[in-house]
Amino acid sequence: MRVGVITFPGTLDDRDAARAVVAGGSEAVSLWHADADLKSVDAVILPGGFSYGDYLRCGAISRFAPVMQLVIEAAGKGMPVLGICNGFQVLCESHLLPGALTRNSDLHFLCRDQEIEIVNNTTPWTSSYKAGEKIVIPLKNGEGSFQCDDTTLAELEGEGRVIARYVGQNPNGSRNLIAGITNARGNVVGLMPHPEHAIDELTGPSAQGLGFFTSILHAMAK
């Protein structure tokens, strides 16, 4: 399987995401923001970082990158897309996912090992997990508070589109402890914490993030 990893100027976790893709059994393919070319990948990851310096709003400029036009198009046809952290913010700005990520409620950047519960294991990015499975992976961001209007929230909850929730105390003020969501079709997933930083116990708090990357291999093999 070929999984594309996009690098925008200011992307930071691209090499980590590529490493995780390989650890999950797929081939990682670098995609450059300015290229209108998806290099025949089967799925795409938008990694974390501060794309375009997060000027204006997080992800607000990246959505206009040439490569994003192809991602939006491919996502519409069902290609699996995972946005992690800044990638999640880009997906919201691109309207591939609803809502927005705002400043953490305590206004500080927060880096810590965070327990989350996988509540939807039917997406191509979460199928390796059991529903209700709890995992610990790093959370690290300044603007991770998921916000949306009540109608959208009801829709997300009603359609089972919340894919992961924070366990315990709300780390950033996200509505309904939402850590990740998916689109109506279920192929586009946005996740605030970082599974790519939890692929082994040597460099991460656990190896429990690897499931996102084995999931995509299985999903594509079907």
């Binding site: 100027p9 200011g10 930071l12 980590d16 950047f109 880096c111 810590r112 690290k140 790519e196 040597l202």
Partner: protein, 741 residues
Amino acid sequence: MALDTVAIAQSSPDNVQPFAELGLKADEYARIKEILGRRPTSSELAMYSVMWSEHCSYKSSKTHLKQFGEKAPKSDALLVGIGENAGVVDVGQGYAVTFKIESHNHPSFIEPYQGAATGIGGIVRDILTMGARPIAVMDPLRFGPADAPDTRRVLPGIVAGVGGYGNCLGLPNIGGEVVFDETYIGNPLVNALCVGVMKHSDIKLAKAAGAGNLVVLYGAKTGGDGIGGVSVLASETFGAGGSTKRPSVQVGDPFVEKVLIECSLEIFAEDLVIGIQDLGGAGLSCATSELASGGSGGMKVALDKVPLRDPSLSPEEILMSESQERMCAIVEPSKIARFLEICKKWDVTVTVIGEVTDGDRLEITWNGEVIVNVPPRTVAHEGPVYNRPLAQPAYIDQVNSQKVNVPMPSGAFEIKAAVLKLAGAPNLADKSWVTAQYDKYVQGNTIQAQPDDSGMVRLDEKTHLGVAISTDANANWSYLNPYQGAKLALAEAARNIATAGARPLAVTNCLNFGSPEDPGVMWQFAESVRGLADGCLEMGLPVTGGNVSFYNQTGAVAILPTPVIGVLGVIQDVRKRTPMSYKSSGLELFLLGETQEDLAGSEWAFLHGQRVGQSPDADLAREMRLIELLLEGNAFFNAAHDLSQGGLSAGLTEMVLRHNVGATISLSNPAIELLSETPGRVIVAIEASKASQLQALATKYSIAISKLGTTGGESLTINDAVISLDELRTAHTSTFPRLFG
């Protein structure tokens, strides 16, 4: 203001110039005139003033710093030594590592966020300039009393600045220090360390060689920020009630720097530069004069070509501006097209501003008129050198002759209270409030970070080669005895590397002191340098570079002498490191090293308002034996943790809370054993079956050993004092949130 050219300077020798306002002394100004054979132009004056500032020229410290070269131990590891942007050491497998620590103290007091942010930015560019990919940062910080109102202004801003800039660059923050003392009020210390990795063949130097090669400026456009930062800010004591110096603080944009890093690494990978220099303190004045004097000396620069954010800037201001995120490269004409192409890919502004010439003069023009014509070495390397008067301050005999007189706990109730008091003391309390604002995971190679004894990063995913770094200072000891204090800080940093199983390899330092014009401060400085140089020679560790920060003083009150020592070590297989704490019950805990009654300079004495007595003497021969023991024992240790500030009490607190597994400890003289800070001690946890192996190692290396107790349970029990992990954790973790929200 009319343009002041060399021609005008020649014809108007008597023009009055504002040298004093630019921070130059009368004799320094006279010397510039002597070098040039005329009065300097206003642009030349600007260049000399920033380059001859204390910050850039090391004019007060140079005569002392020479010892690092003179007493340097033989080392095969040193690839690039003192004098370049950063030292480079060989860590094996073809890898070279460069690391350096620098201060950004003064700007961070005035504008905490930007001061700290650009401190990170500057040191990262130093590392990049050597040709290396920056891979981690660390930040030793010092503040006034934790509960002082100004600390509540300065600390959150500095922490946010370190995080805001470093996080955005994608550099894991793997450690540092947070220390409070009243002498740092008004003089917070922001020291920033960066480490980078490259292959041996990729090392780059700051030199402009080859006539006809091009001088290329790339990165951010030049603005009016930070003008005269080094001369006005970093080289003067803050006077009470002086004018605000805000415009002298630079403003950083980490996104521009991140792009600059990636762009530069792509340029380096294609071998497109002859020499390179970043623009930090003293901006273009520094970069052009250092590049030119690093080569044969000749360079021509058309200053009007420099892209500006503010078109109204005068040539003098452009030369002095400390706008961030800029680099200056020397490029062969045949390679310039590719160089420009890579800059375009990354949307980096790039301009050819001049060329290397055959001569030995640095000539700068403004719209065709010559405004600077100087021998570059006189700007960059031949600045004034001062043998400042120094004298042992009167306080030394006075404090050394007194004995620490503090209440010592006795009985279970008082022992418990003392352990809890130390656990929650601001200098020893849990620092998560700070470190949670730093990304420690980015790049995916972080093996250890705060609160571990040292930071550790993996260099190679296939061979598992890694490096560990620790920065340490004990300013209380340095106050009581600066010579011993520097040696003790060196020993502690080396020990912190070795507990994890990494072999210490090289040293960097950031020497923070008061005003060099005070003979007492100058004595503290000289003694500290002597101690560090002697210590490095004895331990066989070369000093690869460093930084001096003077004038950390408000009025007559100087900060404690604070030499922050960074030690870098190498570990062959990061998977085999020894962690600082254990996860299982039933292990045996041993103390390596002997405990004396060393309360002078201890945290316990500090908490009781006492800074008297004599610091311990560093026994570096024993420290080296202990390091060898740790490296050999790494094979079977479950955990090893250095004892330093807060002694055994703090060490046990940190160990039991790390993975929430308690311990039962038995001590014959608990008050002294818990509170003394005798150097050269380490707690190790091992399987009971390995006890005889550990005993044998201790005998082999002549290190005292005593059994402390066993691991397990939900409390830290010391004799009959039972402290539940919950109450210990509450004491340890509530201090920072209570103070800083």
